[in-house]
């Protein structure tokens, strides 16, 4: 098992220290066999499904908040029933060009009603922030070497948007007409 280093993240448009650890499965590791370190964890979907009871127990007994991360191919419908259990849902972007996570975010926010912290992490930086924010992400762990300070400027790249998304559910044409 490998733990990514935690560092500063952007959360609600501010830089903040972050204690969440991302748990990943190494090749061949069974989800049930993963040992869970102390502290708040973002676990893969497979680990959530395999060790749900154990994870919920940690929350009840030790007050450790629950977190999960979804890979691009993971179906957010699989956590729809548990969605209120999570303090953080993270979506991984292994490559900036893989845009599946943008749909995942809108589904979590707009279909399954998730209103907790929704975090993007992986190959993302200043130039992805505006769209990520629009589809519903409110926290961002940027890729290696990306400046979080610089990324803070990206939230206001555009003054408005034509189409509805998670951040603005009324499309411009309805506001324009008003």
């Amino acid at each position: 098992m490998h733990k990514l280093q935690t560092r500063q993240i952007i959360k609600q448009r501010r830089l903040q220290d972050d204690a969440w650890k991302v748990v990943t499965l190494v090749d061949g590791e069974a989800p049930f066999d993963v040992c869970l370190p102390v502290g708040p964890l973002l676990v893969p979907l497979a680990v959530w499904k395999a060790k749900k009871a154990c994870l919920i127990h940690r929350e009840y007994e030790h007050g450790t908040p629950l977190g999960i991360w979804l890979a691009p191919e993971d179906n957010p419908a699989e956590i729809a029933a548990d969605i209120d259990d999570f303090t953080v849902i993270a979506v991984h972007f292994p490559k900036a060009a893989d845009g599946r996570g943008y749909s995942t975010a809108r589904l979590l926010r707009q279909r399954y009603g998730y209103d907790g912290e929704l975090r993007a992490f992986g190959d993302i930086g200043r130039d992805q922030i505006f769209y990520l924010n629009r589809v519903g992400f409110d926290s961002f762990l940027l890729g290696e070497g990306r400046s979080a300070e610089d990324a803070l400027n990206a939230f206001d790249d555009f003054p408005d948007s034509y189409q509805a998304a998670a951040d603005q559910v009324i499309p411009l044409f309805r506001r324009r007409a008003a």
Binding site: S103, R106, F130, F158, S161, Q163, F173, R174, A177
Partner: protein, 561 residues
Amino acid sequence: MYRYDHYDHALVQARVDQFRDQTRRHLAGELSVDEFRPLRLQNGLYIQRHGPMLRIAVPYGLLSVAQLRKLADVTRRYDRGSGHFTTRQNLQLNWVELPRVPDILAELAQAELHAIQTSGNCIRNVTTDHFAGVAADEIADPRPWAEILRQWSSFHPEFAHLPRKFKIAISGATQDRAAIQVHDLGLQLLLDEAGEPGFRVYAGGGLGRTPLLGQVVREFLPWQHLLTYTEALLRVFNRFGRRDNAYKARLKILVKALGAAEFGRQVEDEWLHMKDGPATLTDAEVARVAAQFAAPDYENLADEDLCHLAHLREDKPFARWVERNVQAHKVAGYAAVTLSLKKPGAAPGDASSEQMEVAADLAARYSFGELRVSHEQNLILADVPKRELYTVWHRAKSAGLASPTVGLLQDLIACPGADFCGLASARSLNVAAAIQERFEDLDYQHDIGELELNISGCINSCGHHHLGGIGILGVDKNGEEWYQLTLGGRQGNTARIGEVIGRAFAAAEVTDAVERLIGVYLATRHGDEAFIDCVDRIGLDAFRSAAYDYPTQTERKTVNA
């Protein structure tokens, strides 16, 4: 035509500022080549053989005089005094310099032009019928819907990182002139029994390596649901389209793998969650946009103009131009004029800055200040009074815009090919030039009649070779340029993918092979039967054997040795 309000201006300007900063960071070494690539592509900027190429959007092919003058100005000051109109109704500049691109975009923005999403794995420029609003066979004007889709798709946050590019085309007429069946999403405007517009939805068409025609996934989509349904369809594509292989990433592969019925069902499922939500279109919005495409103030004219008829009788070259380049108009006394961007010695679709200015002047004076770009790479003056046709012809002729060959061989379509494009396997302009030269004689061309000949310099098929009655595809064999011929392609309502006739030809053999194909047609046609109909009637075999019935270059070499 649609004019920007303060929202449109602010959004396009914000994009210019954003790209200026991205370019600055790239040039300062803060954004790597790989990081910068998708950002520049979504602003129409390729890095090609000679340097950057900028693809400027001409939304649904419509240009105002001020816009075309701006393009003329930009091509003169930032390029080498010309631009290339493409099969997707856009304009490409081949000689721009990267550090100056933000300035170009800033200038374009003043004229309500942009290069947003003209490349990259996102929703591309929406295209439509170049005779929209004036065609006699129009059911409903597609342009307001194209503009509504343009706005919805611009900076769409969810669909900027799709598996592959996504192209939308709309036709509002009974004859499809927008090639909707070879687009990822093809929309055919129809009216229901109550006269309310809606769309027949085709999905999964496209050319390229696996040419496929779109399949109907919905027979009738009421107009209110255009955006929610399209959003649902894009979401299914974004989530489930293949991302492991760029050649299998277009929507067509997903539709083929799932089957049109299953794909349609998944879209409907997704759509049910959004249907009737806030993105449902309103009467007010459609009226707001449609009002900007209102018909111009046509004069009340007799359908036939006596002077025009006299010119037709007395001036044979004029009559020939009218026969080919002037199309019927739904309003009496008016006609649509095609300004040809095809002639031997010039790349198909190329226009010089001066030609753009002449075209703009003609539009200002004779066609209510607007022009269109056709997907056959010509410019159209859509609303010319018939009494002015003779003057328009003279002025177009002196600017080299009046080749009387629309629909004939010289009107061939060609991509820029390996002379410019970094993706190309072979040149296409040399082949185009050789064919145009061989068939330069107008009597010969008019005798051959309508024939769509399309040339692509690589399998990406920007030259739509699959849809040509004769298609030519450049391929690379061990560093040599070879050309594969396809036969029997059609565009429009009866769209069909052409069939490869056999082994590829060397560059020097292509024109001869084309002439032999045409020879078969000339020898076997019935009356005024068009080339493509003759192919359908007699089949490919006669053509195939004629094409190959001669010593090949290799055989000749052997003989000579």
